[in-house]
């Protein structure tokens, strides 16, 4: 699968432009990182790719395998193989986590889930992600700690097996051990299923456990710098200002 974002401009429904011409191409199996200071448009870009109704594309296009997806609803984009790990997953009281995940898996695969096998898979990922309180029997993100929410998102990603995942700050709010667990699981899923990933993050810590191939720096709705892992080291050393100034 190839995700191709061309000259993308995204605005809020009341007309405020946030993403101002982003170009990005990601294939399954590739590992990209988007870094940037607060308010640079990273999360808006992620939500726009997934089709959030609160944003409109004012210019440009998003292609999956050569076909525009901008008119597709989020569920159809997910069925194509896209996945968004939310920075702040919504809490939905009363909706069982596993029940929801089963419905999502059935929708994506167009097949009825074998419950026994499915539960085994969920339990296995629950253990791998060290979700000590378990997931079975709990409602969707409701009453989850910050760490459990992040791990719950990775669990969903593992079970739904997307072709390309956008991980929006998978490390925020996690302690050092949890960051290692999340990074290791993302690495495994990429390796096992050939998944491509776009990791959005402010900090380089999680990236020390991962092997990104391409790093993009966003500022004021645009990608202002691109490079390899060396760019992360530069950002770590000199901060975003240095990269933004270089561009200016």
């Amino acid at each position: 699968m190839e995700l191709d974002i061309k000259d993308l401009h995204v605005a809020t429904v009341d007309g405020k432009e946030i993403v101002k011409g982003v170009n990005l191409k990601v294939k399954s199996g590739e590992f990209h990182v988007i870094m940037g200071p607060n308010g640079s448009g990273k999360t808006t870009l992620a939500k726009a790719i997934m089709g959030h109704p609160g944003f409109k594309i004012t210019k440009g296009n998003i292609f999956v395998d050569g076909k525009s997806i901008t008119s597709l609803t989020p569920d159809k984009r997910a069925k194509l193989g896209l996945f968004l790990q939310f920075q702040n997953p919504v809490e939905i009281e009363g909706v069982g986590f596993v029940n929801f995940l089963r419905a999502a898996r059935e929708s994506i695969t167009d097949n009825t889930v074998d419950i026994k096998q499915f539960m085994g898979e969920v339990r296995s990922y629950t253990e791998k992600l060290a979700i000590t309180n378990g997931i079975v029997g709990r409602t969707l993100n409701h009453g989850f700690s910050g760490g459990e929410k992040k791990k719950g998102e990775i669990l969903q990603m593992a079970v739904l097996r997307p072709a390309i995942s956008i991980l929006d700050e998978p490390d925020s709010g996690l302690d050092i051990d949890a960051i290692k667990v999340v990074a290791s699981n993302v690495n495994d899923i990429m390796k096992d299923h050939g998944m491509g990933a776009i990791v959005i993050t402010h900090y380089s810590r999680i990236l020390s456990y991962m092997k990104p191939q391409r790093v993009h720096v966003m500022h004021d709705g645009k990608i202002v710098a691109e490079g390899g892992k060396e760019l992360i080291l530069k950002l770590e050393k000199d901060g975003y200002e240095s990269v933004i100034k270089d561009k200016e």
Partner: protein, 437 residues
Amino acid sequence: MKQYNSMSTEALELVNTLPEEQNELYKKHFVPIPLDRFIKEIKTGENPHEVEELRELSNVLDKKLGVKSDILIGSTVTVSQNRTKHVKVINLKDVTEDHLLGKMHNSNEDRLVAFMHAYSRHFVFIEVPEGETAHVNLLFANIDAPLTAQVLINVGRGATLDLFEWNASKTKSQSLLGVMHEIRLESHSKADVNIVHNEDNNTWLLNHTKGKLNDNSVLNANYVYNGGCNSRAKNEFDAFGYSANSRIIEMIMGSREQKFDINTVITNTGEGTVSDLESKASGSNNSGSILKGFANVGDNARNSKSFVNERGLLLDKSAYIISIPGMSINNANVKATHSSATAPVDEDSMFYMMSRGTDAITAKRLLVAGFFAGSIAKISNPLVREVASSLMCEKINTGTFGNIPKLDTSALWIGHSYGGDMFEGHYKYRDRKMVIE
């Protein structure tokens, strides 16, 4: 019967106008039932074809949902399928004052009751003697004529009743289904009363329940309002005995221009009593619901607790849900709360769920199921939970009501955050031996 009939003319007028209601919002939105029109259509003779229709309905209900009805009550006939010593059905022409003595309320103020008394066609008596346990399944169906009936329940000291009532219809034109319940719980008795409404779109529903609870008795009354074009319910529960406990759950699922007017009063008369009313409504497709819950705490209800909790979930912009919680507290030493909230489906929740691949209908079904999940989980009878889930799924998936849906328990599979025995007796649990830890 004369004493009841004497009030009927006045009652008929008042059922449409209800001047005793003071709340302006309620007066503006209540659902009037054109009883004068339906009264003329109440049949006095028996239509033998109804027996076949009732049996067929009962068979489908059993086959699809596993509900085995003991007594079938149609517009003009009744059928006893399973003999149960606790139930007796008497036709209007055979009922005498002795049958009704002490079992019916007869208050000049209660004109709706008076009306129902005057025009009831069938009388179902459920008597559970002291210390005994009874399970009773009733099927009501108005078949091309109005059905008016009363269910008079008396649960003896220390006795237990589990009642399941399915209300259906088979009509070609507009009709009425009116059922009144009078429930008396003697001391230390317990009753689970589960009433499911799934009438067709021609049916106007008039429901009335009056419950009286003696010392240490427990009433769990669960109502599922899913069918009917226009529904009007007036329910009153009085915990008058020491430490009596009533818990009322109302679930209303509105669609396709259905109107629901659910007016419930819980009263704590006795000391140490608990009354808990939980009303939830979801609405779509030009439906409208009015939830009027009222807690009444009497002078002598020391150390009592009252809760009125009303919630609404709007699935689209065409529907409305009006909730009017109220309280009257006449004793200082009590705990009482009331709350109300109605909101549209959360856009971010929909986006989150759809971003995982679930289509909009599935996402809404899960959200509605989640909305009702806490209430459904409180219902102790697993059959009722499954029925409620099946009706809910059918309505969201197809937009229809009035037919017997296929068993769909997907909405129930939520785990044990609402109690470890959520799956006990569950089809999925039983059939697949899946233990959800």
